[in-house]
Amino acid sequence: MTDTNTDLRPPETLRSAVWAQFRKHKGAMFGLVVLGLLVVFSVLGPLVWQPEKLSVAEALRSKNLPPSFAHPMGTDHLGRDQMQRMMLAGRVSLAVGFVAMVIAVVLGTLIGVLAGYFRRLDGALMRLTDMFLALPLIPLLLVMVMLFRDRVAGYIGPEMGAFLLIVSAIGITSWMQAARIVRGEVLALKEREYVLASRSIGATPKRVILRHILPNVISPVMVAATLCVAEAIITESVLSFLGLGFPPDFPTWGRLLFEGLDYMESYPARVIFPGLAISLTVLSVNYIGDGLRDALDPRIRGR
C-alpha cells in the first residue's frame, strides 16, 4: 500500500469537493439561481428601471393601473410604479435578512465557543440560551419595535432607526440555534489531539480558538446561517405585515403586502407579487441551506 497514488490529477481541494457535491443537489442549484435573480432584480434593478417622475396631476390619473408595458406590475394607489417599489423593497428585505443573520451568527458563535471551551462559563451561558429559547419571540419583537421605535428614530432618523432597531432585535433573538450547534462542535473538537498538542506547546486559549477551533466549526455555522437568513426575512415581513415594521415611505416586501391588503379584493396582484418575492427568497435560501448541509457533510460527500 505504498504507491497507490498513481492518479496524476491535482489533489482535490475541500472547496472544489464541496462545490461538486453542491452542484449535484438540484434544489440547491435552483435556489442559488432564483436567489441570484432576486438579488440582481433588487440591487441592480433600480439602476436600470427608472420610471419617469410624475407630477401630482399625472400621478392621480395613473393610480391603480393594471400591469402594462409601461408598468409591468401596475401602479399603486398613489400612482407609483409597483415594480420600482418592489425593487427598492427587495433591497431592504434582503439587507435585513443578511445583516440580522450576521448579528445572530456572530453572537451565536461567540456564546457557543465560550460555553464550549471554558467549562466555567458553560452552565450559565447554556441556561441563558435555554431562557432565550423559552421567550415568546414574536410578541417580544412586536413590543420592542413598538416601544423603542420613536426613541431610536429620534437619534438617527426614522428610516435608519427602524432598520437598526429591527435588525438588531431580530439578531439578538435568533442566535440560540447557532450557539447550541457551535457549543456541541467545540466540546468535541477541544478533546482532539491537535488541540491538546497546540495547548501543550503553550498556545493561549485565544490562539487555540482562532487557529484551531473556529476554522473547524465553519461548516455547521454556514448551514445555520442560511436558515437564519430565511428566518430573519420572514420575521421582518411578519412585523411589517402587522404594521409594526418600517415607516410607510421605506418599503419592504412585507410592508408592500400589508399596504396591498386594503386593495386585495380589487387588485390582488398588489398582494401576490410581494408575497411571491418573500416566499421565493425564503424557499431558495432554505434549499441552499439543504444543499450546503449535504455538501459539507463528509459522510455524504464523495458518494
Binding site: 421567550l135 408575497g275 416566499s279
Partner: protein, 335 residues
C-alpha cells in the same frame, strides 16, 4: 421518573421568574410608558396623582414584586372565587388594563376560547394530515409521492402564513366566494345552520395554520419512520411472515411515533405565536389579536401579562414533551 419530574418542575421556576423579569423590565423601561403619555401642560401635582392612580409611582422592584403577586396569587384567587362563589380575593388589587380599566384576566378569559377553537382545530388538522403523508413518504422513499411530499414540506416551511392566508382569501373568498373573508366572533352555534356557518368561517384559518404545521410534522414523521424501517426487528417481523400492513402500521409506526409525539408537544406553544398573524388576518378575536391591540394602545399590563402567558406555555410544553419522551421510550432513563 418522579424525582426527574420534580427536579424539572423546580428548575422551571427560576427560568420562569427570570423570563418574567425580562418581560417586565423590557415593557416597563420602554419609552412608551404612561408617564410620557400625559401632556406636559398638566401641573406636576395632578401628574403625580395620575401616576399614583395608575400605580406606577413606586420603584421598579416593588412594582415587579406586586405584579408577580398579582399574577400568581391574586388572579388565581379571583378565579377560585368566581368558580366557587367565595370571596377570598376581596379588596386585593388586580392587574388592571390601561385600555379598558378592567382586570386583565377576565378579558383574556373571554378571548381564549376563540383562539383555542381555531388554533386547536388547526393543529389537530395539521397533525392528521401530516402523519399519513409522513408514513407513506417513508414507506415509498424516493417515489413520486415522497418527492411531492418533500416539495410540499419545503413550500410549507418557506411560504409565510400571512401570504398563504391572503392567497386563500383571494382565491376562496373573493373569487370563488365559498367562505367569508372575516371571522364573525359573535356567531353562536345553536342549530345546524349556525354550525355550518361556523364551519365555513373556520375553514380558512384552520387550513392556513394546519398546512403550515403539517409541513414540519410530516418531515419528522418521515425521517423517524425511515430510521426504524431499516432496523433488525422489522426484518424479523417480515421474515416470520407478518402481513406488511401489520409490520408498518404496528411495529414501525409505534416506535417511530415516540419522537414525533414530543415534536407535536413542542410545537403547541409556537403555534400560539404564529396565531397572532392568522388571527389578525382573518379577524379572529383571540388572544393574539388582543396582544396586537394592547401593543398599539400602549396597554402595558395587558402586554406584560399576555407575553408572560406565552412564555409559561412554552416552558410548560417543553416540560410535557420531556416527560412524554421519557414515558414512551423505556430506553430513556433520567435518573
Amino acid at each position: 421518573m418522579l424525582t426527574f419530574t420534580l427536579r424539572r418542575l423546580l428548575l422551571a421556576i427560576p427560568t420562569l421568574l427570570l423570563i418574567s423579569l425580562v418581560i417586565f423590565l423590557l415593557v416597563d423601561l420602554a419609552p412608551g410608558s404612561p408617564a410620557s403619555e400625559i401632556p406636559l401642560t398638566v401641573p406636576p401635582e395632578v401628574r403625580e396623582k395620575i401616576l399614583e392612580a395608575l400605580g406606577v409611582n413606586e420603584p421598579v422592584h416593588i412594582r415587579y414584586l406586586l405584579w408577580l403577586k398579582q399574577f400568581f396569587w391574586v388572579e388565581p384567587l379571583n378565579g377560585f372565587d368566581a368558580v366557587f362563589g367565595t370571596n377570598y380575593a376581596e379588596g386585593m388589587q388586580r392587574i388592571i388594563s390601561y385600555q379598558s380599566r378592567s382586570p386583565v384576566f377576565p378579558i383574556i378569559g373571554e378571548r381564549l376560547p376563540q383562539t383555542l377553537t381555531v388554533i386547536g382545530t388547526a393543529y389537530l388538522v395539521g397533525v392528521l394530515i401530516a402523519l399519513p403523508i409522513g408514513i407513506y413518504s417513508a414507506y415509498r422513499q424516493y417515489s413520486l409521492f415522497d418527492q411531492a411530499g418533500t416539495l410540499f414540506a419545503m413550500i410549507g416551511f418557506s411560504v409565510p402564513t400571512f401570504f398563504t392566508g391572503t392567497l386563500f382569501i383571494i382565491i376562496f373568498a373573493v373569487w370563488l366566494g365559498w367562505f367569508p373573508t372575516k371571522y364573525n366572533t359573535t356567531l353562536e352555534v345553536v342549530d345546524w345552520e349556525t354550525f355550518l356557518a361556523q364551519l365555513r368561517q373556520m375553514a380558512m384559518p384552520v387550513m392556513v395554520l394546519g398546512l403550515a404545521n403539517a409541513a414540519a410534522i410530516s418531515r419528522y414523521m418521515r425521517s423517524s419512520m425511515l430510521e426504524n424501517m431499516g432496523q433488525d426487528y422489522v426484518r424479523t417481523a417480515r421474515a416470520k411472515g407478518m402481513p406488511e400492513r401489520t409490520v408498518v402500521l404496528k411495529h414501525v409506526l409505534r416506535n417511530s411515533l415516540i419522537p414525533v409525539v414530543t415534536v407535536i408537544a413542542l410545537g403547541i406553544p409556537t403555534i400560539f405565536g404564529g396565531a397572532i398573524i392568522t388571527e389578525n388576518l382573518f379577524g379572529v378575536n383571540g388572544i393574539g389579536a388582543a396582544l396586537i391591540q394592547a401593543i398599539r394602545g400602549n396597554d402595558l399590563p395587558m402586554v406584560q401579562t399576555l407575553a408572560f402567558i406565552f412564555a409559561i406555555l412554552i416552558v410548560v410544553f417543553n416540560l410535557i414533551a420531556d416527560l412524554i419522551y421519557g414515558m414512551l421510550d423505556p430506553r430513556i432513563r433520567y435518573d
